[in-house]
Amino acid sequence: MTDPCLTFRDLTLGYDSHPAVHHLDGRVAKGSLTAVVGANGSGKSTLMKGIAGLLTPMEGGVVKAPGIRIAYLPQRSEIDRTFPARVVDLVSLGLWPRRGLLGRHTAQDRADVGKALQAVGLAGFEKRSIDTLSGGQFQRALFARVLLQDADLILLDEPFNAIDARTVDELIALIRHWNGEGRTVMVVVHDLELVRRNFPETLLLARREVAWGKTGEALTPEHMLRARRFHEAWEDDAPWCETSDHDHDHSHEAHGGARAA
């Protein structure tokens, strides 16, 4: 196995003492392309936030390869689309890792913004106001921003939600292109067919890891059933998880099995 880009060490992430990602161990290889799959509430987005450093682990941690740059694309709903900005303003945010707060945007930078827009098929959209973009166009603009960030590790959280098939194909092509450039990419995806066709690695989550490895081996019917059975709701009276006790997972499974929908 090549060098790890990310190493999860007993990673537990969550909110209000309730874990959303529970004791995750493992490594993401440099240059790998991984789909993160799981039901709603299974901790996919939380894991992404944890890797991006937006959420402090409750336990354990994420070890990143030294010096890597991360680009994180959250779910679309978290952006204020009524903000008075043009497409070029939105995409230029991607220059932040390069120029920071005060660095001037050079002619080269502006040319790069243009190239990024071209790469996602939005050439000529520079001056359009972002509230006039369709869902697919907006997502392309965000991909252009990711492109501009020139990151070693790219995290995409449900980038294909409410996107039509043609755009999905084009975005997938971009992702594969990034991966071909040696970048590590992790994508939260719901469409299993899409995963099987395009992602070599899959991490199947149900709060904890259900399966992680080659997509064909991870997405077996047996694993899918186990992933589907997990109990999404928090329980206020759930027993406290003891760190050293590695049998803790079974209690969750028991809950899930009893109330499987």
């Binding site: 991006a52 959250p74 903000f83 303003d89 945010l93 932040w96 890792p97």
Partner: protein, 292 residues
């Protein structure tokens, strides 16, 4: 005709030093407060600005309680109280489940009650009116210097943190993922809001100073869809409102603070109706469209 224009527009300022100082002070205020107001609006924190303005009151009132109607103690008191409200409410919304609007409302109601109570302990209802609605015609050199300093600080900070402020409004999660500036930018911005409200408090009072911040910004929103022109336009609207408000108050013997804010209010209503992104225009262009 020229004479008439002179008498109406120029003479009040040429003849009276207090009018000059009022004009100079209020124009300065617009220069700082209006761009801050634009960001306040874009962050959907317009009402928070109102809340913070009330938050200044108990501090200013405490200054009044101990030192009388002196600008420096009241300003410092206002600054401290405003900072406490802004930081407190900001912290509550950042670190707990409660949204900013709720925490702001809680902090400001408490502040308002406390402020009115404090002023009433020593002063008359006239003093209370001064604190609540300001006295732009009584700006002395000390007050002007204070406003000038606040405006200078505001413009420098806006210039330096511009990119972070825009990113924090547009896509806060993105900013947090590429930089640690998100939270500091938020609090620096809240600091600017308090600073400008305190600057405006002497001229327009704690209740109205937020008007010069919000109304021009809200009006400018109807005319442009980019941040930079919006800030410039807001400042210009602020200038016009101050000028017209002061003239109105001079000729019609109206209280000057409300006259300024009402002038801005007129611009606001005109913008709603006739702005390029306003109500009438939106109806007018519905009937015409391009083929692609």
């Amino acid at each position: 005709m020229i004479d008439l224009l002179y008498v109406v527009l120029i003479a009040p300022f040429a003849d009276f030093a207090f009018m000059q100082r009022a004009l100079f002070g209020s124009l300065l205020l617009s220069l700082g407060a209006c761009p801050v107001g634009v960001f306040l609006m874009l962050r959907r924190m317009s009402l928070s600005g109102d809340a913070m303005a009330h938050g200044i009151l108990p501090g200013a009132a405490a200054g009044f309680l101990f030192f009388g109607l002196e600008i420096l103690p009241m300003t410092i008191g206002g600054l401290i109280a405003g900072a406490i409200v802004a930081l407190g409410a900001g912290a509550v919304s950042r670190f707990t489940v409660q949204r900013e609007d709720a925490s702001m409302a809680a902090f400001y109601l408490i502040s308002l009650a406390l402020g009115v109570l404090l002023v009433s302990m020593r002063g008359s209802s006239v003093d209370l009116m001064h604190v609540l609605f300001g006295t732009v015609l009584a700006l002395d050199n000390e007050a002007l210097a204070l406003i000038g300093g606040i405006v200078a600080v505001t413009l420098v900070v806006l210039f330096v943190f511009w990119r972070a402020l825009v990113a924090e409004c547009l896509d806060p999660l993105f900013l947090r993922s590429v930089s640690r500036l998100g939270t500091p930018a938020h609090f620096i911005f809240l600091g600017l809001v308090v600073l400008n409200l305190v600057g405006g408090f002497q001229a327009l009072g704690t209740l109205l100073s937020v008007g010069l911040m919000m109304l021009p910004a809200a009006s400018a929103r109807f005319w442009t869809s980019r941040v930079e022109p919006m800030c410039v336009l807001a400042v210009l609207i602020g200038f016009a409102s101050c000028l017209s408000g002061l003239l109105l108050s001079y000729h019609a013997a109206l209280p000057s603070g409300p006259a300024i804010i009402l002038s801005a209010g007129v611009v606001y209503f005109v913008s709603i109706m006739f702005g390029t992104r306003g109500a009438l225009r939106a109806r007018a262009i519905r009937h015409r469209h391009r083929i692609a």
